[in-house]
Subunit: 130 residues, 2 copies
């Protein structure tokens, strides 16, 4: 049986956008990119795997921190070039800067203002490199 | 007073990713892209404005359908290359295919399956072009 998980990887140099949302709270945690291999690994392993544009290689989220993202549900958008992945995040936060969500700054009167408290100390996880 | 709304438009050919989320339900409605002008117009007008990669021009969401997105809150991610925009959507749905959200297909047993009911008839809005 042929499975059809076709996505449009052509519009963005072989990548689709992946929005990561906490499946319980609904909070948007981060945005990453997946190439076809990262998407396949995400589906096969059940852990969100991205393609790092800066490092130009696959990136299992949590490979350093242990803060993996357990996939609960995957949706595709109408253009098949964006994914919405609802996850159970392992660990206190997905952001390498120590926050629950990478979206920890809000626009207020024309400036970005930190709107969250840190959820963990990134130095204790990333050895001060973050 | 200098306002600092700096974002990193360099990583994706002058664009940042914009995730659109319903500010009441928390549902992720769509993903679009903004160049610097689209972002500025979004902030200034209070209506989400994107840059259409296919049409290569600014795109006020709802300019055809009337289904504008009223901006309630804007957050930036740690890399300053993605935005989370919480909105009040005007109209029954943001998707040009007639759904509340563009993410209306879920991955089930290796295939994309429509998981929502249509919220409106796209032919009545887009004249059958959608």
């Amino acid at each position: 049986m042929v499975k059809r998980m076709d996505l449009n990887f052509q519009k963005s140099d072989g990548l689709v956008t992946a929005v990561i949302q906490d499946h319980v709270s609904g909070r948007v945690l981060m945005v990453g990119f997946m190439n076809e291999e990262a998407f396949r690994k995400t589906v096969e392993t059940g852990f969100a795997t991205f393609y790092s544009r800066s490092r130009q290689k696959l990136w299992l989220k949590g490979e350093t921190s242990g803060h993996r993202l357990v996939v609960k549900e995957i949706s595709a958008d109408c253009d098949s070039d964006a994914l919405l992945i609802r996850v159970e995040p392992l660990g206190p936060g997905v952001c390498h800067e120590g926050y629950q969500s990478c979206f920890f700054r809000r626009l207020k009167d024309g400036e970005w203002v930190v709107s969250d408290a840190r959820a963990y100390d990134p130095a204790s996880i990333y050895g001060g490199k973050a």
